[in-house]
């Protein structure tokens, strides 16, 4: 079953096509990777899916078009996301950050406290709840952001460069966490990542974007051995 289908999605910034005529499909339950050089349009694509910018073409989520919906509506449909730079609510506690997601993203949830507790345990933030978000370290910031996104009870999670600036140990923990989220919660994940090692470990399928266009798609092992992909990455 397809959870997300993009049809001829195009986004122009003035003359520049950040995403052009893009078609792809994401299967329900998989971890789908997106890679490509800087400026390939990866983050723009996330912004389109989550409703930040208007675009042409159509994006279909669970059989219904989400074109033209505002970000909060898309969240309520069941898509959550994280950001490349940890844009937390820095003046409030980690717990309140997560509560923000639970309260506004999953309004039908009766047992808010229970939900938050589960998620805190899942991502491993226990003990940090009362700390003000501005004061936790980068890894915990990313975890908080992820936890807040999960608190909206999404069926599709968009994760933007989750490992930037993390230590190898933290990267490993992240990889494990994504598997756990995917398997235990049954959440489909689309992940943008520039570390190919992570991609190979995490993804079921990988799509390479270049200049806003789909370059190739397939299993990660196969994709990274493609001659042209290597060229793109080495600036060929």
């Amino acid at each position: 079953m397809k959870i997300l289908q993009a049809e001829k999605v195009t986004k122009l910034f003035g003359e520049l096509a950040a995403v052009s005529n893009l078609d792809f499909e994401v299967e329900s339950g998989e971890i789908f990777g997106i890679a490509g050089p800087n400026g390939a349009g990866k983050t723009t694509l996330f912004n389109l899916i989550s409703g930040v910018y208007p675009y042409t073409g159509d994006i279909i989520f669970e059989g219904k078009s989400i074109h033209g919906l505002r970000p909060f509506q898309i969240c309520h449909r069941g898509i959550a996301r994280t950001f490349q730079i940890p844009v937390l609510f820095s003046s409030i506690s980690v717990y309140d950050n997560i509560r923000m997601g639970a309260h506004f993203g999953a309004p039908k949830e009766k047992n808010e406290k229970e939900l938050i507790k589960e998620i805190i345990d899942l991502v491993g933030l226990r003990g940090q709840e009362e700390t003000i978000a501005a004061n936790v370290d980068l890894f915990d910031k990313r975890l908080t952001m992820l936890a807040a996104a999960l608190a909206t009870k999404p069926r599709l999670l968009l994760v933007d460069e989750p490992t930037g600036g993390l230590s190898p140990k933290e990267v490993r923990a992240s990889v494990e966490l994504f598997h756990k989220i995917n398997q235990e919660l049954g959440v489909t994940i689309i992940i943008i990542e520039h570390l190919m090692k992570v991609m190979v470990e995490v993804c079921d399928r990988l799509m390479i974007l270049n200049n806003g266009e789909k370059f190739c798609i397939g299993s990660p092992q196969k994709v990274i051995q493609t001659r042209e992909v290597i060229d793109i990455y080495l600036g060929g």
């Binding site: 970000p71 969240c75 609510f89």
Partner: protein, 336 residues
């Protein structure tokens, strides 16, 4: 157990409330001082309502003095022309301001920062024209006065009956400040903070920013308008002079001096500025020069505003002790 916890947690506010409640008795009804205290409370609430918008939701509305004046005119005019009892006219002033606030919020939904400031300030600028043009009812620049006041037995709510009126204002102010406090600590307040701290993330977590913009305009305009009607009733007059830049400037200074988004900082700012500006009155022309200099000095010394005073003092103390410690250490090492 629970009671004592609440007491301990809010010791500062409760202490301040107690002092404010007892002060008039200590002053033995000194009219001048009581009226100054009443003005402090009124501006404190107005500044706090404004803080809800600027400090908490980060919606840079510059229309709050306009809402205040709209409330004032509504209060006075409904009493004068519709014969509504003055007690009812005061909340009506709030309702009118809230309706206009929400109407103004509509073109502001898609705007940010300084662009919202301009649209709302535009309302401030246009309001005086509207009042002047609607001369038959508003009496233009002359303003309104001589309308019916709230009466409770032999007591009239007026600045000439300061003791009674102070407690009316005190009651209304405490009630409204409590509402503001509750809003800040509710999920509405949480949404405001979310949109302030990181709007894109807040939106992606399911917060409808349009809805909360409308809410913040509605609540803060309601409180400002209600206080405007109360102010008008208290002083018995309202005129477009209230829309002069000086009022706007002073309330904004009260708010920012107290500290943005640090309830009840705005109230403290209002007390400090109102009392200072009265205390400096004998300096005549130099009064506002000195007041301006004080504001600048305080902000350079304490950039977080007065509400951050405890932290500022503590961090200063920490630095001093650290320096002492370093000195001691260096002495120790050198002696060895």
């Amino acid at each position: 157990m629970v009671v004592s916890k609440i007491l301990r947690k809010n010791a500062f506010m409760l202490g301040a409330l107690l002092v404010l409640a007892l002060l008039p008795i200590a002053l033995r009804g000194n009219a001048h001082v009581l009226n100054i205290l009443s003005a402090c409370l009124i501006w404190g609430v107005v500044a706090s309502a404004w803080d809800l918008s600027i400090g908490y939701a980060s919606v840079w509305s510059f229309g709050h003095i306009a809402f205040f004046v709209i409330g004032g005119y509504t209060g006075a005019m409904t009493v004068m022309y519709l014969g509504i009892p003055p007690e009812a006219a005061i909340p009506l002033g709030g309702v009118a301001a809230a309706v206009i606030g929400i109407l103004i919020a509509l073109p502001c939904l898609r705007l940010h920062g300084i662009y919202i400031a301009m649209v709302t300030f535009g309302v401030h600028l246009v309001l005086s024209t509207f009042i002047l043009r609607w001369r038959d009812y508003t009496f233009g620049a002359t303003g309104l006065s001589g309308f019916e006041r709230i009466q409770l037995g032999q007591y009239v709510f007026s600045s000439s009956v300061p003791f009674f009126s102070y407690y009316v204002i005190f009651g209304v102010s405490v009630l409204l400040l409590f509402i503001i406090y509750r809003v800040i600590n509710s999920t509405i307040g949480l949404a405001f903070v979310g949109l302030r701290d990181s709007e894109p993330f807040a939106k992606s977590l399911g917060i409808n920013e349009y809805k909360y913009k409308l809410i913040v305009f509605g609540i803060s305009a309601f409180i400002a308008g209600l206080m405007g009607a109360l102010y008008t009733s208290f002083y018995g007059t309202v005129s477009p002079f209230m829309l002069e830049v000086s009022t706007f400037l002073m309330v904004l200074i009260m708010l920012m001096l107290g500290g943005l988004g640090r309830f009840p900082g705005a109230v403290i700012g209002a007390f400090v500025i109102t009392v200072l500006s009265e205390a400096l009155r004998p300096l005549v022309l130099w009064r506002f020069v000195i007041l301006g200099a004080i504001v600048i000095t305080v902000m350079i010394a304490m950039p977080q505003g007065l509400m951050a005073l405890p932290q500022t003092i503590k961090s200063f103390a920490r630095r001093v002790t650290q320096r002492k410690q370093i000195k001691k250490d260096s002495i120790k090492t050198s002696s060895i």
